[in-house]
Subunit: 230 residues, 2 copies
């Protein structure tokens, strides 16, 4: 299939005539789509960790934004002539390993996982949007407009730590573990998917390692914002 | 709190001046809201039973209608001055017992559970709508307009039984077990919630037992419609 032409102005943003290949964009959208689908499922599943029906319902309602984002990404994959399930499949093992090594033991741990995961995902979306052009970039901007599950989780965590400051130590440790595991898996994905790594490092303004360092710094700020230590 | 006045024409439909009490309506809406919330969670959780990412995503997307219905019901409870979580709480044990006695072993069993549960719920909504007046009746009609998860499940079951007719026997047995358990739990709920039973039997046109017999007959027709025996 032929590559879509890229307007000169957009190509210039990426240092001359660089532009992502269709295959690299499909890899990226597949990774993002799977992340959204699994974030949705995880929230609905973890909602059961609280005996409090009001919180349980709020967690499930907050999950809906994730499945809406999944649909936006899946539609774009289809528009590119790709099968969403096939585009997502290569990343199942990495997400599966992350989830099995970070199963929350209670509702607060689940909320921290939502907060960290959703916020890191948003930062990642923002970072890669700059590497994309045309419809792909517009799509990522639309995904980022969706009301964030992170906002819901942040409010709940702040309230919980406010009510019981002794929870902060345990949750801070948990947050560090989540980010450690996530970076571990992200490095594995990058090593196994050269096209994706090339896209992220494109335009000469960053490597995967630099991106991960940036995400980690932003994460540390966010932990402070909900009363946790990094 | 005073009862809302009921227009004479509506009251007449219920055999004179009968009208449901605010408390009975709150019981009913609490039961329905919990049913929708748990149906949503169940679909997102059971989506994981298939290794097929395309089906898994479709199941999660089909679940969204249930949480939308939950929101409509919760909003109405709040408009009546009730706390949705408190209105749902009395029915948790019955739904919990149903779910723990009917855990699907695979994705097809999960689909049959969605199909049976969602369709029986829709029939129940239709039956009780006739007992309600004004905004409560309008609400139930809106809930019934939502694209049904049962349609998604029916298509998948039909395709699966078409591809492997030997699955029909096992799934038919499973469908009978689901309805048996559901009726069992419904009778328990009716026995423990007199206001609710009074509302269902109101207007002299039916008892809880008659309602359950009607739901069972409709269920048998629906099983045939997807290639299963009742």
């Amino acid at each position: 299939m032929s590559e879509p032409t890229v307007p000169a102005a957009e190509a210039a943003e990426h240092g001359g005539d660089w532009r992502p290949s269709r295959e690299a964009v499909i890899d990226l959208l597949g990774l993002l789509a799977l992340g959204e689908l699994l974030a949705f499922e995880r929230m609905a599943v973890d909602a059961r960790l609280t005996p409090d029906l009001a919180r349980r319902a709020r967690m499930s309602e907050a999950a809906v934004g994730e499945i809406r984002n999944y649909r936006l990404l899946a539609d774009r994959l289809e528009a590119l002539g790709a099968d969403p399930a096939e585009a997502m499949a290569p990343f199942m093992d990495a997400f599966g390993a992350y989830d099995s090594s970070t199963a929350p033991r209670d509702f607060l741990e689940a909320l921290v996982k939502v907060y960290v995961g959703d916020a890191v995902a948003d930062d990642f979306f923002r970072a890669v949007a700059a590497k994309l052009t045309g419809d792909d970039r517009t799509l990522i901007e639309r995904v980022l407009e969706t009301g964030s599950a992170a906002e819901f989780a942040a409010e709940e965590i702040r309230a919980a730590v406010g009510a019981d400051p002794s929870a902060a130590g345990r949750l801070s440790l948990w947050g560090r573990r989540l980010v450690g595991e996530a970076i571990n898996r992200a490095q594995g994905v990058a090593a196994a998917h050269e096209r994706l790594t090339d896209l992220i490092g494109a335009g000469g303004d960053g490597s995967v390692d630099e991106l991960l360092r940036g995400l980690t710094r932003a994460h540390q700020e966010r932990m402070k914002a909900v009363g946790l230590n990094n």
